[in-house]
């Protein structure tokens, strides 16, 4: 598998250690942290997942393993930023997903954060309070996979709940 990043109809703005992308096809705005940005920029259709891991590790100067790359590719695909290849990323390799997510979380920012660009009318004054709180960014770090069925018959706490982040 040699993933290819989507580059058409996107406006990219480079920031220190991050990339912000405006997707003109669906008016979404994505912020890629440095790991996701390095992977997205390197997906030119000629590199395997292992190639990407090595390249990103060299670029960022931080250990980057296969799981991290696969996770990032999944998030980039969910955000609509990949052309081909990401959809066939096997989910099996994620025995250490928790570890991968944890490593990324230590870096401080989500792999891919997304907002929907508001239309101008969304800013109209109103005498009625808005029904919903301010729009939240969609964080593409996926929730942990459900735990295996308990052998003793007791359900573990917090099963099925993913991380939430508010701005």
């Amino acid at each position: 598998m040699k993933p290819l990043a989507r580059k058409n109809d996107l406006y990219a703005e480079n920031l220190p250690g991050e990339v912000v992308l405006y997707d003109k096809t669906n008016n979404k705005v994505h912020c890629l942290n440095k790991t996701a940005a390095a992977i997205w920029e390197s997906c030119d259709g000629t590199r395997t997942v292992d190639d990407l891991a090595q390249l990103v590790e060299a670029k960022l100067g931080a250990p980057t393993n296969r799981e991290v790359v696969l996770l990032a590719l999944q998030e980039l695909e969910k955000a609509g930023l990949m052309e081909v290849g990401a959809s066939v990323i096997p989910d099996a390799g994620f025995t250490s997903r928790r570890e991968a997510v944890g490593k990324i979380a230590l870096a401080g920012t989500a792999l891919v954060a997304t907002i929907i660009a508001p239309a101008p009318a969304a800013h109209a004054s109103s005498s009625v309070p808005p029904p919903d709180p301010p729009q939240l960014p969609i964080i593409h770090n996926p929730p942990d996979p459900p735990p295996p069925p308990p052998k003793t018959g007791n359900n573990p706490p917090g099963a099925g709940k993913g991380p939430k982040k508010k701005l």
Partner: protein, 279 residues
């Protein structure tokens, strides 16, 4: 500030108002709007209708707003407000029509101003840099801005942060609008004399503060990355869908030496004190 072009007046016995139109144009932040409204409605409009607007009838209008007065089956006036000939709105009272026109005019300028990027936000000056508090209507921006002013910051805006191509923030010079009478009184007391003078100069962006109210909370924000802060600003950027590249570019430039913080906050006065100590 506004000049009218009087036409032959016809007193409408049902409405009790003169039905000739006031026709005038204003130029605000590079956007020219032509208004055609009944004289009675013209008298209800604020001056200026958009902060920073000047009377200007040189050149074609970007938008024309017209108001026609019709009547309901009960004989009550109905104000049909049209934008470039299309009727987007009706009101049944003079005051409501005036309030709608004021809001519409300000949003229209914020959307169409080509050289500037309007972000829905409150703004104060602190140590020669701008503190920007992004948020839609009714999210408490005005209250937070007043709290910061009471704590020693300099007032810039309670509605829009206006960014120029250099990333500087311009003032939106008007009295903050608060829902309750006591808030309005505080605003008048704090800023009435300030607003009678010239607005302050544009300043670079220093901080972006994103918060939501949770009673009893003391403000212990986490620092945001540059990209996260930019998303927070873009989420409140009026022309983002119309001029996405310009919006992103201008705000990214503004962020060059700025920091973003986010976290729940308690009461505005306490939050303001904590914020200014932190920054």
């Amino acid at each position: 500030m506004f000049a009218s072009s009087p036409k032959a007046a016809v007193r409408d016995s049902r409405l009790g108002i003169e039905t000739h139109d006031a026709v005038f144009s204003v130029l605000a932040w590079g956007v020219r709007i032509e208004f055609r409204v009944p004289a009675a409605l013209f008298a209800e409009l604020p001056t200026p209708i958009v902060p920073g607007a000047e009377f200007d009838n040189q050149g074609p209008a970007d938008v024309v707003l017209s108001v026609q007065v019709d009547h309901s089956a009960e004989g009550e006036p109905v104000y049909e407000i049209s934008e470039n000939g299309v009727v987007p709105h009706t009101e049944t009272s003079l005051q409501a029509a005036a309030e709608f026109i004021e809001s519409w005019a300000q949003l229209t300028v914020a959307t169409l101003a080509k050289e500037l990027v309007f972000v829905h936000a409150g703004v104060v000056g602190w140590r020669n840099r701008a503190i920007v508090i992004p948020g839609r209507s009714l999210t408490g921006k005005s209250t937070l801005v007043l709290a910061l002013v009471e704590a020693g910051a300099e007032y810039y805006s309670d509605e829009y942060a206006i960014f120029d191509s250099e990333g500087r923030v311009h003032p939106y010079w008007r009295l903050p609008k608060l829902k309750d009478a006591s808030g309005h009184e505080s605003a008048s007391r704090l800023l009435g004399s300030v607003l009678s003078g010239p607005p302050p100069i544009p300043i670079p962006l220093g901080w972006v503060l994103i918060s939501h109210y949770e009673p009893g909370n003391s403000w212990e924000p986490r620092r945001l990355s540059c990209g996260e802060t930019l998303l927070g600003l873009l989420d409140n950027t009026v022309p983002l869908r119309i001029r996405p590249e310009q919006s992103v570019k201008v705000l990214a430039k503004a962020m060059a030496n700025a920091q973003g913080f986010e976290g729940p906050r308690g009461e505005a006065a306490n939050w303001a004190q904590q914020a200014l100590v932190l920054l």
